[in-house]
C-alpha cells in the first residue's frame, strides 16, 4: 500500500484549531486503507471537523509544525481526558489530597480510554 502521501502530510491541526476556534480532541488515523474516500485527516471528535493536511515544502517549518501539532494534540487529549475522568472519579467536595481510590480511578480512566481508542480504530479498519 502506498503510504507516501501519509508520510508527506503534516497536519497543521494546532494552527487550524486555534484559528478556527475549534476545541476538542484529535486522534490521528494512521492507517487509512486504499479506496477510503478521504485523504489523511485528523478527526475532531467533538465537532466532527475534518481537516485537510497542509503540505509545506520547507522541512524546518514542517518539522516544527509536526512537533507542535503533536504536542498540542497530546495536550488537548490530556485536557479532555482529565475533564471527563474528573467527573467519573471525583465525587463530593475536593479534599487536601486524593484518596487512593480516587487516584487509582483517574489512572484507570486514562488507560481504559486508550484501550477504547484502539478498539475503535480496529473496528473502523475492519469495516473497510
Amino acid at each position: 500500500m502506498n503510504r507516501a502521501w501519509l508520510k508527506r502530510a503534516s497536519v497543521n491541526s494546532s494552527v487550524a484549531a486555534n484559528t478556527l476556534g475549534f476545541k476538542g480532541f484529535w486522534i490521528p488515523l494512521v492507517e487509512i486503507p486504499r479506496g477510503f474516500p478521504l485523504f489523511s485527516f485528523f478527526v475532531c471528535f467533538r465537532f466532527g471537523f475534518l481537516a485537510e493536511a497542509t503540505i509545506d515544502n520547507s522541512s524546518d517549518l514542517q518539522a516544527f509544525l509536526k512537533q507542535e501539532g503533536q504536542k498540542a494534540m497530546i495536550g488537548q487529549m490530556v485536557g479532555k481526558l482529565t475533564d471527563q475522568c474528573w467527573d467519573k472519579c471525583i465525587s463530593g467536595t475536593p479534599g487536601s489530597k486524593f484518596s487512593s481510590k480516587d487516584s487509582a480511578c483517574l489512572g484507570n480512566c486514562a488507560r481504559r480510554f486508550m484501550d477504547m481508542s484502539m478498539l475503535i480504530m480496529k473496528k473502523l479498519q475492519s469495516m473497510q
Binding site: N12, F39, E52, M77
Partner: protein, 89 residues
C-alpha cells in the same frame, strides 16, 4: 478527489526571520489557547463542586474549597498524563 476542499498551502521562505516569527506566533497562540481551555475547565468544575448555593459573596469555606479544587485538578492532570505515557498496552 477532495470533497472537503484544500486549504491553500503556506507560501514563503523555508527559513529566516519570517518563518521564525511565525513559529513564535504559533507557539504563543498554542499556549494561550491551552491556558484558556484549562481555565474554562477548572472554573466550571470548581464552580460545580464548591459554590453550591451562591450567596452575596464567596465565603471562606468556599474559597478554600476552590483553592483545594484547583490543586486537585492540577494533580489529576498530572496523574492522567503519567498514566498515558508510562503504562504500555
Amino acid at each position: 478527489m477532495d470533497p472537503f476542499g484544500s486549504s491553500a498551502p503556506p507560501s514563503g521562505a523555508s527559513s529566516g526571520p519570517s518563518a521564525e516569527a511565525m513559529m513564535e506566533q504559533i507557539k504563543t497562540q498554542l499556549a494561550q489557547a491551552y491556558a484558556k481551555e484549562f481555565l474554562e475547565t477548572v472554573g466550571s468544575k470548581c464552580f460545580a463542586k464548591c459554590i453550591t448555593k451562591p450567596g452575596t459573596s464567596i465565603s471562606g469555606s468556599e474559597s478554600s474549597c476552590i483553592s483545594r479544587c484547583i490543586d486537585r485538578y492540577i494533580e489529576a492532570t498530572g496523574i492522567i498524563s503519567r498514566s498515558l505515557f508510562s503504562s504500555p498496552h
